[in-house]
Symmetry: C2
Subunit: 442 residues, 2 copies
């Protein structure tokens, strides 16, 4: 199965809105074995919409169109596509009733006539019920089997309709066509009539997440990835401020085969990554650390200077973090470091607030004042000001206390204020992850 996507909205072309719908649709379609062949964005202009939908139907025979189904004058997708298919619009009484009921429930008085446009349906189109909003999805099919699916542009509504209504229909359609020996989706990827039907293929990925090591050092560890990957699996390197992800993708395999191929590739790759790898897919390092703490019945306190609360925010973003996270001190000002964490003013005067000695005292102070078994401290220069030749912007000290020992680490992070802070929080979490897994020894 192949298909096209058209997203409609002048705001998208002006860059007022980032088009997250395209990525969400691409992911959902690929996971179901439907290959998105091309994506076009056009403004709220009937001629542009008609041209883009016509070109898409020409290419793959199947197009998902999002946006432009709302009640305002700008919303012209319904009319434009109906005209392209040579259908007139008919007001659907069930949709009118649903709109009026919804409007009445919000207590906003009589519904403006304009809203009724959302009850207009191209003759012969199937209505895909939208339980998250007012504009239903619409499924139009012409005599030649070409399909245009219209979905609202509101992200949650688009995603819900796509996954619950559209993809199952596309997949059933692809299966029926495969059985009938017709090319799936009007394209070139189908099965010849003489061949037995093949199961539909999917494109799926699995990600190994690393932190604390540069992409090039990681590449040296991995070496030539080809023998590790196996047929049909590729490897992409995705470096970011908080670490480098290695994404394995299985291309055009049946769902079961794809899962097995990814499993083999991941099993072959993980030993090369060693302890640099902290998890897979959407694993969050804070959640990994919290799990390790819970497993050891340990409780954590933090002391933050340059991260200013970011480390606590990351930990408490994890549901259930209260099982292992007690709290801590945001010690942005030096007097707060002394008063609330017991850092000695002399240590600050001698070594500076960004120093190993202060990080260690902050760490000990956090553990002591919160009554914690484990503690983390971060102090650094996030910039843009405050750097010196000896301690440039990006200088960060992290201290991690666990099992009666405090380990301190020094970094010089590249990047702007926000990036330095994010890297510092990630480095602190990683220091504790490693301390916990070494059982207090090293």
């Amino acid at each position: 199965m192949r298909c096209d996507l058209v997203t409609v909205g002048t705001e998208l072309l002006l860059g007022f809105t980032v088009d997250g719908n395209a990525a969400a649709a691409g992911r959902a379609l690929a996971a179901a074995g439907v290959r998105l062949e091309a994506h076009a964005t056009v403004g709220d202009d009937p001629a542009a919409i008609r041209a883009a939908v016509a070109a898409a139907l020409e290419r793959t025979g199947t197009v998902v169109v999002t946006g432009g189904l709302g009640p305002t004058r700008d919303d012209v997708t319904r009319e434009a596509v109906a005209e392209l298919f040579g259908r007139r619009l008919v007001r659907d009484p069930a949709l009118v009733a649903a709109l009026e009921e919804r409007f009445g429930r919000l207590g906003r008085g009589p519904m403006p006539e304009a809203n009724l446009r959302q009850a207009d349906v191209p003759e012969g189109a199937a209505v895909l019920p939208n339980r998250r909003g007012t504009a239903p999805g619409l499924w139009l099919e012409d005599a030649g089997g070409r399909v245009a699916v219209l979905l609202p542009g509101v992200p949650a509504e688009m995603r819900g309709l796509l996954e619950e209504e559209v993809i199952p229909r596309l997949v059933r359609r692809g299966e029926a066509r495969t059985r009938a020996g017709a090319p799936a989706g009007g394209g070139t990827g189908g099965q010849g009539a003489a061949e037995p039907a093949s199961p539909p293929t999917v494109i799926v990925s699995r990600t190994l997440r690393t932190t604390g090591i540069s992409e090039s050092a990681l590449a040296d560890l991995v070496g030539d990835p080809a023998p590790l990957l196996g047929d049909g699996v590729t490897l992409a390197w995705l470096p970011g401020p908080e670490g480098t992800d290695l994404r394995l993708t299985a291309w055009d395999l049946a769902a079961e085969q794809a899962g097995a191929a990814l499993g083999r590739a991941a099993a072959a790759l993980r030993p090369r990554l060693g302890a640099w790898c902290y998890g897979e897919d959407d694993a969050d390092l804070a959640a990994v650390v919290l799990e390790a703490l819970v497993a050891r019945q340990a409780r954590l306190a933090v002391a933050e200077s340059c991260t200013g609360g970011l480390l606590g925010a990351r930990l408490t973003a994890v549901p259930g973090s209260s099982r292992a996270f007690l709290g801590g001190v945001v010690a942005y000002d030096n007097d707060v470091k002394c008063a609330m964490l017991g850092v000695s003013a002399e240590t600050i005067a001698r070594h500076g607030a960004v120093s190993e000695a202060v990080a260690r005292e902050m760490c000990a102070g956090a553990a002591r004042s919160c009554g914690a078994d484990a503690a983390l401290a971060v102090t650094g220069i996030a910039g843009p000001d405050g750097g010196t030749p000896e301690k440039p912007v990006g200088t960060v000290w992290v201290a991690a206390g666990w099992g009666g020992r405090v380990r301190a680490f020094h970094y010089t992070f590249p990047g702007e204020r926000d990036v330095v802070r994010r890297r510092a929080a990630q480095a602190a979490l990683d220091a504790l992850r490693r301390a916990l897994s070494s059982g207090g020894e090293d």
Copy 2:
């Protein structure tokens, strides 16, 4: 001036990457008076790239293409577009030298032959130097004046080349065509030869930011916006978890007129919004609060329970925040609330940790322990667990201390854990903004 955009990358179609380049390009072009007419995304496939670029040139005569200029086999944009223009690729000695110099500097040994592909230039193309990366931009123009500009897909490199190299050339080109009486950009928007040249028009916007009030209540305050806006200016409502933005956009006016029209509309609209409006454009509420504190020579401390550091993180995200922000306590655990903020265990037992009384004691404790003039406290139930019929998930108490008074506010925020936390941090900042502007009175 009109133009098209083509973004190249199989990863974009699979949804592995959200296409932020399209929005960034749309914004930069619109602000310079270049209207993005349509945007297409295709995979790393020469035939698909050629078809999309050809369709774009047909439509507007000018196309910006991003992505597919890297050193790997997947990167085929250079070859595909050169073929479309009937040009062969020629290795540029200056680019080879620059690549070798850069490679040597990173100390990675001899450069692989594949990397030299980045020094290949379609015959007759202008090289746009890329000081942020290895792949230069390329400007191809055919005998008929049709232009394809190739830019790397790395966001910072794309944006830099677009703003520094491409847009100035496009604008000069548009001006030259307008003077010559030819349609700008090969499209229909140009001036007839008999008319005097008009200045180029722009599409620009100005945003008024509000918080603490629902979109519908705000709509009631504004009433009919039409008389406030003036000709050529529209209003868009953009509700989000942290407040509702009102975006004014001036369409197709000369730059000076557009600025004046936006200024008039903003001046007419702001009085309707009253104190709900805290700033314009990319104003950040944390920065607004910090400025107000600096103006009063006041220093702030925080006490956070459900936000767990988010409030401190937002404040310290602002460069220079140390002028007004001292720090505070992340009191996630009740014992930490008592030990470090002096909250009484009896108050917690009687009212619960999420209560007005505890918020007030946390606020007082933060001010006292940090020696601050102003203080904020947040305690709430972010979910997904911990809600009760009396205190459902989303229940939040905020206390704001300033000028010898502590004001407390109760909220029941809708949304998931992350949204409740973000709303709570925003509400706390807003409570202090209002307290500071009332001068301690109310």
